[in-house]
Amino acid sequence: MSAQTDTGRQATAAPTASAAPAIELRGISKAFGPVQANRDISISVAKGSIHGIIGENGAGKSTLMSILYGFYKADAGEILIDGRRVEITDSQAAIAAGIGMVFQHFKLVENFTVLENVILGAEEGGLLKPSLAKARRLLKQLSDEYELSVEPDALIEDLSVGHQQRVEILKALYRQADILILDEPTGVLTPAEADHLFRILEGLRDEGKTIILITHKLREIMEITDTVSVMRRGEMTATVKTAETSPEELAELMVGRKVLLRVDKKPARPGKPTLEIENLHVVDDQGVERVKGIDLSVRAGEILGIAGVAGNGQTELLEVLGGYMAGTGTIRVNGEEIDLTGAHSDGQSRRRRGISHVPEDRHDEGLILEFQAWENMVFGYHHAPEYQKNRLLMDNAGIREMTRRQMEKFDVRPPDPRLEAKSFSGGNQQKIVLAREIDRNPDLLLVGQPTRGVDIGAIEFIHQQIVQLRDEGKAILLVSVELDEILSLSDRIAVMFDGRIMGERLPAETSEGELGLLMAGITGGDDQ
């Protein structure tokens, strides 16, 4: 193991049982070209335990797990399963060794049915029919057993993310995995879904299966894991028993400094309403009504958090406000109405109106992954006069200079404007988007899922930035599926369900439990 362990703690997760550890990795190293993603990593995981892995973005967690699953080939090191050395040359070998993995970005064929995805690669014989029949039976059995119900004939693209994840788990169970690896499984789940997942994981553990869980959420680590390993910059810095540690200590192990786990903010001083929404309806491409009459207002100097299970119209709400989806109803910004048909208004004109927008999906919307950082830093604002050299040309050198400053201010690492966006880690990508949108000094900031997949060091920073903008008297509309985030950031909370607002609450006067009920469409009946 590496010599430079910052904290000096080296608790090997001592397996309680006499049996050999379910997984033992010895001296795993992996380089992607010049990037040393994993360096001489050793770890062992006891049978029948849930083992957490945490670490900053880009620490090498996914790489390590992908090696275990045979997706990447390690440059050096060996893998032992149940004490026996195995050669994991590809995923086939991993599956044969009883390993299943749920990747952060699901590996599902979107236009296949659930059933087809489950049997893919594990079919019986050359014809599909018997395989499908058998899978249907087994799937039913499995879903009953683990409360993993999904419609076997549904197309993946029609399923919610939570259900897609279930399919991934079912895939692993169908292949009779004894070891299940989950890479950031809760990043896209609602608290209820996450709880449900954890119940399933506990059930699996109690059956003797071994589980490895990668997550950025310390709460989850504390709640469900038995042991936890911390990774930093490609190395394994510590492995500790969960019962013997605390979130603060883990955070410090990860980031190498003390981290504020609470958002530190003063009470809001709201002013005039900046955003007023009246009777907003949105119908999507398929003709489904996604937003069914919403009234909302956000005042200057306040953060309105919108809680809700993904897929209940929040995305569409943001997209209409951001100007790239049409809707009907009335929306006023600073008292002036904006055109919702899309005919005279698009993302550009919204930006000119002082609306900035951090989209939910940084890969597909917020960034052009093939563009360099500086090009992304003006994405959407490329018409702004200050970025033009003259009437014809853009001021590329100036933009690069501005980007360098922004990157330093927002602590984007590495602060190189010429790096392509795709070569930054998720957290740093998010910081680029935030830097761009916040820096415009907008009257209204729309934020969707600001910290999805982002490590705690970066989360702390991002939250600070949002609060600071509020304190400057700006209005902020925050959409997040993280109840934690909603509760700690918002000054006011509205809950969306099925395209409607189910109710508004003040963070101090509500609880996760109550919000959870509202998110499920169950109202107390006292408001609306």
């Binding site: 590996k107 014989g125 014809l127 029919k129």
Partner: protein
């Protein structure tokens, strides 16, 4: 237009559609597996040349068929080497193969036969005979369905029936077998196939093998029909097949209809080269461009958006 003319036009459509259909299905397998194939034209040409050459020398079209398939396969594997093994650009590779076939067939043909890239004419066993289905003579006398059976259904060469049979077979393979499931999956999301423990590389090569064989059949059909190879005799059919493939939205049955439609349009264009409508004479050029014009119109008016396999054209790269 009388009934018999209609039958004859349809008959001609079928003959013209056969090479398109085989080529289109070749493209279908390849693109369903995520390998874009604009090298169909080249494979067609290579197969036509080799089958023509071998059939001319041996006097057996069956040996010609073997050679044609082998040639087309070789081109397919070269495409695989570039686009699967070395993650190269599939479009460039396809363009290169088209050039390569156009050049090599003539250079090699010239050095073998010294006929300027042509092969000697095929005759007798050097060509496929047309199959007269049972009772076609007797049936011919039955009114209405008789001529249809005799002219339209009966009397084509073996490869036409093979092409027609290839449609349900392709459908069955794609949608009813394990191989088909994996093939479709690898064109949509190779990562899913890879993590399911199936080799992406092997699947894609398998798809290219099928594509190679089908193009080989199509090329041999051309050589047999024209009784020999003439330079550039594929005459853009590979590109038309590609268009038909998009038209067909990458589905076997639609491919049949799409290629039959192209065949039909060409057959009609052949028959009615210039039409006088009162004082206005519609020029030949217009009639000859009509299939292409109609394709555009149909595409714009009825087909709408065709969504290709999602992983198409992109090499599967895990580590960069």
């Amino acid at each position: 237009m009388d009934y018999l003319t209609v039958i004859q036009i349809l008959d001609s459509s079928l003959r013209l559609a056969t090479p398109l259909l085989l080529t289109c299905l070749a493209g279908l397998f390849s693109e369903r597996a995520g390998i874009v194939d604009i090298g169909l034209e080249g494979k067609l040409l290579a197969a036509a040349f080799l089958s023509g050459a071998v059939a001319a020398v041996t006097g057996s079209i069956w040996l010609g068929l073997l050679a044609g398939v082998a040639g087309s396969l070789a081109f397919s594997m070269l495409h695989g080497l570039a686009s699967i093994t070395f993650n190269g650009d599939q479009l460039i590779s396809g363009v290169a193969l088209n050039f390569l076939a156009a050049g090599l067939t003539i250079v090699v043909g010239q050095s073998w036969f010294a006929l300027g890239g042509r092969t000697p004419s095929l005759f007798g066993g050097g060509r496929f005979e047309s199959w007269n289905l049972p009772f076609s003579d007797a049936m011919a006398r039955v009114p209405v369905i008789g001529p249809a059976y005799d002219e339209l259904i009966s009397g084509h060469t073996a490869l036409t029936y093979v092409a027609l049979a290839a449609v349900p077979l392709s459908w069955w393979v794609l949608y009813r077998t394990r191989f088909g499931l994996r093939l479709r999956a690898v064109g949509e999301n190779p990562g899913a196939v890879d993590t399911a423990g199936v080799s992406v590389v092997r699947l894609r090569y398998a798809a290219l093998v099928i594509a190679g064989v089908l193009c080989g059949l199509a090329g041999t059909y051309l050589a047999s029909l024209a009784a020999g190879f003439v330079k550039d005799m594929s005459a853009g059919r590979g590109y038309i097949a590609l268009a038909a493939l998009i038209f067909a939205k990458w589905r076997p049955w639609y491919a049949l209809w799409a290629t039959l439609l192209f065949g039909l349009l060409e057959a009609i264009g052949n028959r009615y080269q210039s039409i006088a409508l009162g004082d206005i004479v519609i020029p030949v050029q217009f009639m000859q461009a009509l299939p292409y014009i109609l394709t555009v119109i149909i595409l714009a008016g009825f087909v709408g958006k065709a969504i290709p396999p999602r992983a198409g054209g992109k090499p599967y790269v895990k580590e960069r």
